[in-house]
């Protein structure tokens, strides 16, 4: 704590790999003299601002694209692709996953994998029952017009 020259980090921020490699080992080994790296990667300001700019741009894009008709599911697909790009930007940069331990990335991707499994199973299952829905709608509509 007394090592108040720490803000030097501001100058060495362009070398993120240094702190990302083996944090635990680094802590044990580098606890003594030249601990000029922090406990984790430090994001440069320009990168943060650039990511925000990209996110804002994509938001404008996703809003403006709704005024075009891209087919039955086209608009939904485009909106989801843009949202996923935005999500990837947030996860990679704002959440430091690019420099973080790979284990955290695996954790996150596991969650995504299970969400995809969950949704795809549900969609497939729903497709199986579409006939029943159509039948129900046509019969109730016919009954109502009588």
């Amino acid at each position: 704590m007394a090592n108040d020259d720490k803000p030097n980090n501001a100058d060495t921020e362009t070398s993120p790999e240094a702190s990302a490699a083996l944090p635990l080992a680094a802590a044990h080994a580098g606890g003594d003299a030249h601990a000029d790296h922090g406990l984790a990667h430090t994001m440069p300001v320009w990168m943060l601002v650039a990511v925000l700019g990209a996110l804002m741009g994509l938001t404008i894009l996703t809003v403006s694209v709704t005024s075009f008709d891209l087919g039955s599911q086209g608009n939904l697909v485009v909106a989801m692709v843009i949202a996923t790009i935005k999500a990837a930007l947030v996860v990679t940069f704002f959440m430091h996953l690019l420099w973080d331990k790979k284990f955290h990335l695996i954790l996150f991707l596991t969650a995504v994998l299970f969400v995809v499994l969950f949704l795809s199973m549900s969609i497939t299952d729903r497709g199986e029952y579409q006939q029943n829905i159509d039948l129900y709608q046509s019969t109730t509509a016919a009954a109502a017009t009588k």
């Binding site: 007394a2 980090n9 922090g38 949202a83 947030v90 704002f94 996150f108 596991t110 969950f118 509509a141």
Partner: protein
């Protein structure tokens, strides 16, 4: 930095396990501060700051994992219901205010930037900037909630509530959003409504006046532009609630159930985030955070980014339905 940390005997920080340490190590025997020495914010069950930080980081990532799965239940409900009844979503999206949704998206994105920036400030012991960035984050989160409040209030007033409380005060083709997009269809829907009313009127007096129905002769064949938007929104056609006149799709209230659950759960997370950041603001002002101890800021920022992430998906799914 050093004077504030050396004398404070505040309770040590929580690690990933959430158990605050009771005992406190005194200054280490090395005599020099910058060794792997114990400090006021190193919980006693950790050997080093690095270990403490890594444990907390793993903890928050596991928590975020459960959060993703938690929200996925609602996303699943959305997906399944939209697959079954797309007309309900087309109908309901005309009632949502895209501008407010877009403003909230931008506000959340900005707060995400300041949260990420705050982590950097904590790492570099920039106390002033840290306090400023946390304050902006809180301000943005509050702005988000205020906009949300106005949106909810609007829906409450217009009877756009889930379940049996769903009594929309306006028909979808009367809305500005609909009229702007499909002026011909809106006109046609009004025409149909008028016709249905006249028909009802005629039925009432039918006993004495006899049946003269000129309207069928006057009425022209509707064009694609007139029919298509109404059919897609379930105003007329097989999915409509009332086959005799333009109305709304059956079970349109389900959309608002999904809408309120998804945005409500997200809003609760925003409120939670505000609470956490207020706590961190107080601690940041006291100068608790520095290069060796910035975990809480980092973890809160990660949580905040996840809240932002969920909104990134909610916004197009709820507000930008085509």
């Amino acid at each position: 930095m050093s004077e504030s940390t050396s004398e404070s005997v505040t309770p040590p920080a929580k690690g990933g396990h959430g158990a605050p340490a009771a005992a406190e190590h005194t200054v280490d025997g090395h005599g020099n501060g910058h060794a792997h020495g114990d400090g006021p914010h190193l919980a006693h069950h950790f050997d080093t700051y690095q270990q403490q930080f890594d444990a907390g980081k793993l903890g928050i990532w596991l928590f975020l994992l459960t959060e993703v799965l938690f929200f996925s239940g609602l996303f699943c409900a959305y997906t399944v219901y939209r697959g079954m009844h797309p007309e309900v979503f087309v109908y309901a999206h005309y009632f949502l205010n895209t501008k407010m949704g877009a403003i909230n998206t931008c506000v959340l994105l900005i707060s995400s930037l300041t949260a990420a920036w705050a982590v950097r400030n904590a790492q570099l012991a920039q106390r002033g900037l840290l306090v400023l960035n946390i304050t902006i984050t809180i301000a943005c989160a509050c702005t988000f909630m205020v906009v949300k409040f106005f949106e909810y209030e609007h829906k409450f007033n217009d009877g756009l509530l889930p379940g049996p409380a769903f009594h929309p005060t306006e028909q979808v083709w009367e809305l500005e959003t609909f009229r702007h997009k499909h002026p011909e269809a809106a006109e046609y829907a009004e025409k149909l409504t008028k016709l249905a009313e006249e028909r009802d009127e005629a039925k009432k007096h039918g006993a004495k006046a006899g049946s003269d129905k000129p309207e069928a002769a006057v009425f022209e064949r509707p064009t694609e532009e007139q029919l298509e938007p109404l059919l897609k929104a379930g105003v007329i056609g097989p999915t409509a609630e009332d086959p005799t006149r333009p109305s709304k799709p059956r079970n349109a209230h389900v959309f608002f159930g999904i809408y309120f659950f998804m945005t409500g759960l997200h809003g609760i997370h925003v409120l939670g985030g505000i609470g956490v950041f207020i706590w961190l603001l107080i601690r940041a002002k006291k100068g608790h955070f520095g290069p060796k101890y910035f975990g809480p800021i980092d973890y809160a920022a990660l949580y905040w980014h996840l809240v932002d992430l969920i909104w990134i998906y909610l916004f197009p799914l709820l507000y930008l339905i085509h």
